[in-house]
């Protein structure tokens, strides 16, 4: 379909033609065949010529020779003027300036320290198989100087533990132990204590690679923080809302009545993903507390209010308090098995771990 342009639309292009601009083909065709537009074009051209002719008739003054001498800096003259007319004692004014400069430089130093010289190094540790974890280590808090992970593999499990040893300015000295163990070995400090500890100086912002028990390199990057990150060792994208198929237990405390059954300070477990995620929690002398997102045989329904889970077992009210919301749902199923004994990698002490519902139930049945 042929595009037809009217005089009103073409008028602006007539003006553009006067300025040596090119115009769209449809506008050019219209202007070429339209008498009104051609008259407009001629009058625009005529106006321009008339303006230039009139300007040429303007009397031109003889411009006198000028000498060009650059002024002193405006700041300098302003300063001299102020100094000369100052009405307060000059010594006092100078002292005031020094105090202001001293205070502001102190504030600047504090600001820089807060950003680049924090007390926590947030390590990003990538295992030889590519699994990434975060490991926050404090240079000051003795309870947050070590972290460790277990990564499953075909030829066994790789356990590594990283310890904050010392700090020297912007760098820290790390003690790293790695060990390849048989699948099912408990991930505890004892399991790796016989592995030699290599010491390395690490500077946040740079990359450090450490041999991981001959399996490949453990890659460390990191940054200084001025606080301990809230989610500790979990990769939660700093989002407080759990996913729709996720259970999070972050630094939980289990209460039975008014009694603290166990305080898992700084411990975290995050069960999510495909299938039916579950979390098992073993408390010595009290047994297993297993948490599921769907009903299970012999399980009781618990009520979730953000970071607290209330449930009842054996006629006793229990509360599990955590540092962040537990699930997206308001209910969860809890299975308590008093005589449960953990096996394999879990060790015999208090622990909690992520699992799959079917696998965990199988373990429970195996012991009953």
């Amino acid at each position: 379909m042929k595009n037809i342009m009217g005089c009103e639309e073409a008028a602006e292009f007539v003006s553009a033609l006067c300025d040596g601009e090119t115009v769209p083909r449809v506008a050019a065709e219209h202007i070429g065949s339209c008498q009104v537009c051609r008259e407009r074009l001629e009058s625009y051209i005529g106006m321009g010529a008339e303006l230039r002719r009139a300007a040429s008739m303007e009397t031109t003054n003889e411009w006198k020779h000028r000498t060009w001498e650059r002024q002193q800096g405006i700041l300098q003259t302003w300063w001299q003027k102020g100094w000369e007319t100052m009405r307060i004692p000059r010594f006092g004014f100078a002292l005031l300036l020094m105090v202001v400069a001293g205070l502001s430089s102190g504030l600047a130093i504090v600001g820089v320290r807060a950003r680049t010289h924090g007390t926590v190094v947030l390590l990003n540790v990538t295992s030889p198989s590519g699994n990434g974890t975060e490991c926050p280590l404090s240079t000051e808090d003795a309870q947050s100087k070590e972290c460790g992970w277990l990564v499953g593999g075909n030829s066994g499990d790789l356990i590594y533990r990283i310890k904050m040893l010392a700090r020297d300015g912007d760098r820290v000295e790390l003690g790293v132990r790695t060990k390849l163990v048989a699948s099912g070995t408990p991930n505890t400090p004892d399991a790796i204590k016989d592995a030699p500890e290599g010491t390395y100086w690490f500077e946040p912002g740079k990359v450090l690679q450490v041999d991981a028990a001959g399996v490949g390199p453990l890659t460390l990057t990191g940054e200084w923080l001025d606080h301990m990150p809230y989610f500790g060792q979990l990769n939660l994208d700093r989002n407080l809302t759990p996913g729709d198929n996720e259970i999070r237990l972050i630094s939980p405390v289990l209460l039975s009545g008014n009694r603290v059954l166990f305080d898992f300070h700084n411990g975290s477990a995050d069960a999510n993903g495909e299938g039916h995620p579950a979390i098992g929690m073993y408390v010595p002398e009290s047994g297993l507390y297993a948490f599921f997102l769907s009903p299970v045989e012999n399980g009781v329904k618990g009520k979730i209010q953000e970071n607290r889970l209330s449930f009842e077992v054996d006629g006793q009210s229990c509360v599990l308090l955590t540092a962040a919301p537990i699930t997206r749902s308001t209910q969860i199923w809890v299975l308590h098995v008093a005589g449960f004994k953990p096996t394999g990698r879990l060790g015999s002490g208090a622990s909690f771990w992520t699992d799959h519902q079917d696998h965990l139930l199988l373990e429970v049945r195996a012991q009953s």
């Binding site: 008028a11 300025d19 002719r53 009139a54 300007a55 008739m57």
Partner: protein
């Protein structure tokens, strides 16, 4: 543009001869332009002098990557003129009286017609038709987007055309 860089390099180093040459080459055009905005030759001359003085005292003021030296000159000149207008802003009654008086001193029909246009349209048409500034330079001088230059030029031309036709009929 390469020429502008060379000239500005000399000016910013304090080369008085280079700046005097730049002054002599451009002061008549700047003065005519300022006269269109202020309607006064003596004011235009004063503002032109102030414009050149300001440029001379700011050796780091011009960035060749952002436009031509001539565009920079006219941009500062226009700002000087607008500043002058702000201080001269007449009272209500004086404004009405001024409307009766043609604002330019060009003794032609086109000059009379131009005097009836608002300041921004006069400046735009003068810079384009007489000074031959490009769309890019006009955008920099008037501090408007380059796409707006075309539409504003059309509006100004159409306004001048209508007034010019009226003036010619009256004469």
């Amino acid at each position: 543009m390469a020429d502008d860089r060379e000239v500005w390099k000399k000016i910013s180093r304090g080369d008085e001869d280079a700046f005097d040459a730049f002054y002599r080459e451009n002061v008549p055009g700047l003065c005519s332009f300022l006269r269109q905005i202020t309607s006064s030759l003596s004011v235009a001359e004063d503002l032109a002098q102030e414009t050149f003085t300001q440029i001379w005292n700011r050796p780091n003021g011009f960035n060749p990557d952002r436009g031509s030296l001539r565009g920079y000159l006219f941009g500062i000149g226009r700002k000087q003129a607008l500043e002058w207008w702000r201080h001269q802003r007449p009272t209500e009654s004086e404004t009405e009286a001024k409307v009766e008086t043609p604002r330019t001193e060009l003794c032609t029909a086109i000059g009379e017609a131009l005097g009836h246009l608002p300041e921004d349209q006069r400046a735009l048409l003068w810079l384009r038709e007489v000074e031959g500034q490009s769309y890019g330079e006009l955008a920099a001088i008037l501090e408007i987007p380059i796409g707006t230059v075309r539409s504003r030029l059309f509006t100004a031309r159409e306004a001048l055309r209508n007034i010019w036709q009226e003036v010619r009929k009256q004469r």
